[in-house]
Structures are given as structure tokens and as C-alpha cells.
């Protein structure tokens, strides 16, 4: 295992509070909610494991040497798939239940069930082919088309398919959550400063940097 202090990016002399702060920041960054439906979620999951292990290791060492209770208990049950969910944050999306569950809800047909499995395993071409051959373009079909688009990076189309799914089946919580997320424009996403994420938020905020910061000439 790597040096746990290096993993959390703090010196060995850091106080318990500093260790905890560094841990919480990293946990927010690599949290499943920040990598929801992200094609790189598996890499984030690895990171999360590493951070949790490092934090637990530091706590173990510190409680062993008899400092006052270590940096504050064990890892927060942050994690991918199962486990307790994150409670302390501000605007994280709940639901969807992490990656293990992903698109695992029961489908109205066996073909759409296969589409969900293909999306979960990252095989988008197969999911697309199955959807293309499925003639009943019902709410779930639209939702899954949206999910494939999102993973491909086709954000605008994803949103439009989710909208159609919600119009066809307004009471469905799964479709609603997906659309809500698209309509929030990732505004709850991690940002190092903790301030809100977004083009409009930042551009409208005069506290943000003035434009000249970005167009500063190099050769002056």
C-alpha cells in the first residue's frame, strides 16, 4: 500500500482535523454521485477505495499511539454500491444507489433488460444495437436511449430522451431523477473551492475572476 499520508496529500505532522478535512475533500471529489453514469466511474471507485483505506490506516496508527481518538472514527461509509449513503453533503443526488445497481431495475421486457445489462457493463454498441431493433418506443426505451447518449457524451440528446420518457410516464421516479440531473446542469458537481459549478453561475458572479484573467497575453 502507498503511504497513506501521501494518498491524502497531507504531511505526517498534520493534525487530526487536517487529516479529516483532506479526507472529506477527496471523498467528495471521488464520490459516486460525482461520477454518476460516468464512463470512468470504475477508476473513481478505485481511487475511493485507496482513500478510504488510507484514512482508516492513519486512524489505526494514531489511535494505536494513543492520541486523542485518532482523526475521527472510521471511513464514512462513502463508497460505491451498497453501504450507507452520504448524509453530510449539500446537494448530492440521492437514489440510483451507486454503480452496482446502476440500471439494474426490472424492465418491462427481456430485451430492455439486456440493454440495461449492456449499459452496466459499458458495452454501449450492443445497447445501441438492441435499442435500434426494438420497435416499441415506450418510456423505458426513451430513458435507456438517453442513458446511452449520456455515456457517449451526447448530453443534449440525452436530456431530450429523458424528457420524452418523463412525458410518457410522469410518475416514474427513475426517469425523473435522470432528467432532474440533466436540468441541474451538474450544478452540484465537485469544485475545489466548494463554490457552485457552472458557466452561468460563474459568469454572473462578479466575485469570479474578470475576463482579462483569461485573455492575458503571454508575451508581455
Amino acid at each position: 500500500m502507498n503511504d497513506p499520508y501521501q494518498v491524502l496529500g497531507v504531511p505526517e505532522t498534520a493534525t487530526d482535523a487536517e487529516v479529516k478535512k483532506a479526507y472529506l475533500n477527496l471523498a467528495r471529489k471521488y464520490h459516486p454521485d460525482n461520477y454518476h453514469d460516468n464512463p470512468l466511474a470504475d477508476l473513481a471507485q478505485e481511487k475511493m477505495k485507496e482513500i478510504n483505506a488510507a484514512y482508516e490506516e492513519i486512524n489505526k496508527r494514531r489511535s494505536g499511539r494513543g492520541s486523542a481518538g485518532g482523526a475521527g472514527g472510521s471511513a464514512y461509509g462513502y463508497g460505491y454500491g451498497g453501504g450507507s449513503s452520504y448524509q453530510g453533503g449539500t446537494s448530492y443526488r440521492q437514489g440510483y444507489g451507486g454503480y452496482q445497481q446502476g440500471y439494474g431495475r426490472s424492465s418491462s421486457s427481456s430485451v430492455l433488460q439486456q440493454v440495461r445489462m449492456a449499459i452496466n457493463s459499458g458495452d454501449l454498441s450492443r445497447a445501441e444495437a438492441l435499442l435500434a431493433n426494438y420497435t416499441d418506443h415506450n418510456a423505458e426505451w426513451n430513458f435507456l436511449r438517453g442513458a446511452v447518449c449520456y455515456r457517449r457524451g451526447w448530453m443534449d440528446e440525452a436530456k431530450r430522451y429523458y424528457q420524452t420518457a418523463c412525458q410518457m410516464e410522469p410518475g416514474n421516479a427513475e426517469y425523473r431523477q435522470a432528467l432532474d440531473y440533466m436540468e441541474s446542469g451538474a450544478s452540484g458537481a465537485y469544485r475545489p473551492s466548494g463554490s457552485p459549478f457552472g458557466t452561468e453561475v460563474c459568469a454572473a458572479n462578479s466575485m469570479c475572476l474578470p475576463l482579462w484573467c483569461c485573455v492575458l497575453p503571454l508575451c508581455c
Binding site: N38, P39, M155, A186, G198, L211, V215, L218
Partner: protein, 299 residues
């Protein structure tokens, strides 16, 4: 590649500004060394960014050298390495095909400047294409697809942006480490999507006048290149989703000494440039800066 990707240099410490300048000068020098003076003129911020993303993140000594653009004062300049050469080769290929695209888009008279510049760049392009045949092939394919979509007035901005995004993602194909390659592909895909969409938004008014293809105007049915509040909001959100994808990819690889510059770009710089483009103030700001710089240079 249009020069939209900018770190908020004014907000960064002097040390980071100097580092960015050194890689900018380093890429220019590498272009000059490998391809001659003409190739130096393709240099821009976006290509500099490509060089940073492809770099191994190791801090290197940047010796001070004189260059044709600044004969009086020596400048710190990152030495060429494998990553810098890769960035230079890919930049030449991208720049060349974009010029050819300009030739195809215009009639004989208006295509004149594209034709003459691409002629000048042709020997450099031949050499670069021979060095990176796979990237040349994929760039050519994606740009052909893009021009087909433009001809048929494709109203899906995702589809049009995809052609350009996939092209940029192709720049990661030459990277060896499989994790790094996945991270870079995702990052470059969304960087390409963002660049393409921001460029289209920046051209809304111009394209409305000339009647040229504009995927953003078609998607939202904009008249005279003016945003409606709803379409503007919706468009900003779709940009934010791409920035989020870039930021999440960025956090999964250790970019070494470039961490601060990249972090400030993905979490701040892109928001600001996008916001200025939506407000219609970006072009003016860049022009004013250039003007002021020319005055400073002259005095």
C-alpha cells in the same frame, strides 16, 4: 482549434504563469525545429493545452533562448521531448486539415487565403502525416464527416460536435498507458465538444448574417443569432455537463507539475470563457488585449 481554452493566468501565481509561458515557447520552438519557420505560425493556446495534456508532468529545466518573435529578450523555453514532439506533430496535422476545410468551405476567391497558407504548410504536414499516419487518417475521416453533416444542415448539435470531439480524442491514441489513454480520451472528447459548441455560439451573429451552417442556431431555432433566455440557459447547462466530464476525468490521472494550471482551467477558466461567449464579450476582450499588446510592443 480556435483559442478558447485558456487558463485564468491573471489569477495564477507568477510561477504558474512562467510555467505556462515556457511550454508555449517550447511548443513554438519544437514546431520550428521540426517543421521550419512557417509551422511556428500555427501556434495557439489550444495546441499549448494539448502539449500540456500529453506531457508526462515531470518538471524540467527550461533554459532561456532567443527566438525570431522575441529577438531582444531571452525567454524560458521547455526543451522538446517525446510528448512535445507528439503535440507538435498533431498540431500540424490539425492545423493543416482545418485550412483545407477552409478551402472547401469557400469559393475560389474567398478560399484564396486558406489555399495559400495551406500550401505553405504542406511540406510540414507531409512530414507530420508520415510520422503519425493513424492520427492523420482519423483527423481526415472526422473532418470529412463534419463537412458532410454541415452540408446536410444537421440539426443535432451533439452529432456535429461529436465529429470534432472524436477527432480531438484521437490525439490520445498515441499514449501507451491504458488508464492514461482512457482518461485523456474522455477529457479530450469533451474538450473537443466544448470547443466546437463554444465556437458555434461565438459565431451565431456572423453565421446569421452570412447564412452559414450553425448547429446551435439550428438546434434552438434562433433568429438573427440572438439567444432567448431559455435557450441560453439550456446551452450553458449542456456546456457544464461537458466541463464536469473533463473535470472528473482530469482528477483520475496525475498531471504532475501541470496540476494547478489544469485545475484552474477546468474549474474556472472554461466557465469564464463560455460565459463571455454567451454574453458576446469574448471577441471584444481578445481584440482589445491584442490591440493593447501591439501598442505596448510598439512603444
Amino acid at each position: 482549434m480556435f483559442g478558447y481554452v485558456r487558463p485564468p493566468l491573471g489569477q495564477l501565481p507568477e510561477e504558474e504563469q512562467a510555467r505556462f509561458r515556457a511550454v508555449y515557447c517550447g511548443l513554438c520552438r519544437t514546431l520550428g525545429k521540426r517543421y521550419g519557420l512557417a509551422a511556428r505560425f500555427i501556434l495557439n493556446y489550444d495546441f499549448t493545452f494539448l502539449a500540456i495534456l500529453l506531457s508526462d508532468g515531470q518538471e524540467r529545466e527550461a533554459p532561456c533562448v532567443r527566438c525570431p518573435a522575441h529577438p531582444l529578450k531571452k525567454r524560458a523555453c521547455c526543451p522538446p521531448d517525446g510528448a512535445m514532439e507528439l503535440a507538435a506533430d498533431e498540431s500540424v496535422i490539425l492545423a493543416y486539415w482545418q485550412l483545407r476545410d477552409g478551402v472547401a468551405d469557400h469559393d475560389w476567391l474567398h478560399g484564396l487565403k486558406y489555399r495559400s497558407v495551406s500550401k505553405v504548410l504542406e511540406p510540414a504536414y507531409r512530414k507530420a502525416a508520415a510520422a503519425r499516419p493513424a492520427f492523420d487518417e482519423s483527423t481526415r475521416r472526422q473532418l470529412r464527416q463534419l463537412s458532410e453533416l454541415e452540408t446536410e444542415d444537421c440539426a443535432s448539435m451533439d452529432r456535429a460536435a461529436d465529429a470534432f470531439a472524436a477527432l480531438l480524442a484521437g490525439a490520445a491514441k498515441e499514449v501507451d498507458d491504458p488508464v492514461r489513454q482512457r482518461v485523456l480520451e474522455q477529457l479530450l472528447y469533451h474538450l473537443g465538444r466544448w470547443i466546437y459548441l463554444v465556437d458555434a455560439a461565438d459565431d451565431l451573429k456572423k453565421d446569421a448574417r452570412s447564412g452559414n451552417y450553425n448547429p446551435v442556431a439550428l438546434r434552438y431555432g434562433l433568429k438573427d443569432g440572438a439567444w432567448t433566455p431559455e435557450s441560453r440557459h439550456d446551452f450553458a447547462q449542456t456546456l457544464d455537463h461537458s466541463i464536469h466530464m473533463m473535470a472528473t476525468a482530469f482528477e483520475l490521472w496525475d498531471f504532475g507539475c501541470w496540476r494547478t494550471i489544469l485545475e484552474s482551467t477546468f474549474y474556472t477558466g472554461l466557465f469564464y470563457v463560455g460565459g463571455a461567449v454567451l454574453d458576446g464579450t469574448f471577441q471584444t476582450a481578445v481584440r482589445n488585449r491584442k490591440k493593447r499588446k501591439n501598442v505596448e510592443d510598439a512603444t
